[in-house]
Amino acid sequence: MKRLLLILRLILGVIFIWAAVGKIFDPAQFAENIDNYRLLPYFLTTLTAAILPWLELICGLLLILGRKVAAASLIIIVLNCIFILAIGSAVARGLDIDCGCFSAGSKVGWVRLIEDFALLAVAVVIWREARTLQAR
């Protein structure tokens, strides 16, 4: 069980770092991607484009290092819920836009939703374990 949790942590960490890096290099492109969702006022769009990738990067690193795992996984849970709502609303509105999930262009759609639900599940498992460790 311990080993499984370690592997899950590493996988989730790497995925989040991978997702973060491309966006960190190109915030302007990421801002355009967020803007296409037509969900946030423009000010929050630009702020999100600058900060969200770093949040992903830091949380990914912490998961890999095994530090502050409870906090990092909780942030990832919240982020994934937001991603699911955003992508879900884009799918529901029939928007045909780039997801902005990873650096390479990928369209919003059911596959992206399923991916995010899977990541959410992994994050919840990690979070629960980290919480019990912290409570001890």
Binding site: A28, N36, I58, K68, A72, Q134
Partner: protein, 160 residues
């Protein structure tokens, strides 16, 4: 609980500081602000000859002028949408099914401008198709991001 809150606050503050700092020094950074910057249209002088590694953004007037001087207009939407109404003279290359249009793309001229479009914001299929054509080595590619909705708003002809 206390530790968790403290950790959360630390992570978020560090992300804020690093994010804003990195964005400020990054040449591809986004300008934090309340007003959405207008997309910059291509300069008319660029839209003549030459060979370019990036597609140009053009407006309605530029599109009309380019079409008059022989540009190929490309509708990046689905065949169903295309049949329901498109810009006169446009050819259809559905961006979602590019593999079905290999033959059409091979026949596109390399010595003329290619201008792609979709319905208009937020549809970015025209822009994506334009980028695809550039990556395939077409030297003069542009996209009309305001798209068919803008065309119709201006009361211009749409053909079936």
């Amino acid at each position: 609980m206390k530790t968790l809150v403290r950790d959360l606050a630390q992570i978020i503050i560090i992300a804020f500081v690093l994010g804003l700092a990195a964005n400020a020094v990054n040449p591809r950074g986004v300008k934090i602000g309340f007003s959405r910057p207008p997309r910059a249209f291509a300069a008319d002088s660029s839209l003549t000859g030459g060979s370019f590694k990036e597609p140009f953004l053009v407006n309605r007037e530029q599109l009309r002028r380019m079409a008059e001087s022989g540009a190929v207009i490309i509708d990046a939407r689905s065949p169903e949408e295309f049949v329901a109404g498109h810009i006169p003279g446009a050819v259809n290359i559905h961006f979602e099914a590019l593999h079905e249009y290999v033959g059409v793309m091979e026949k596109l001229p390399r010595d003329r401008w290619l201008v792609c479009y979709c319905d208009g914001p937020p549809c970015d299929k025209g822009e994506m198709l334009a980028r695809e054509l550039v990556s395939q080595g077409f030297p003069r590619v542009a996209y009309y991001y305001e798209g068919l909705n803008d065309w119709k708003r201006a009361g211009l002809e749409v053909v079936r």
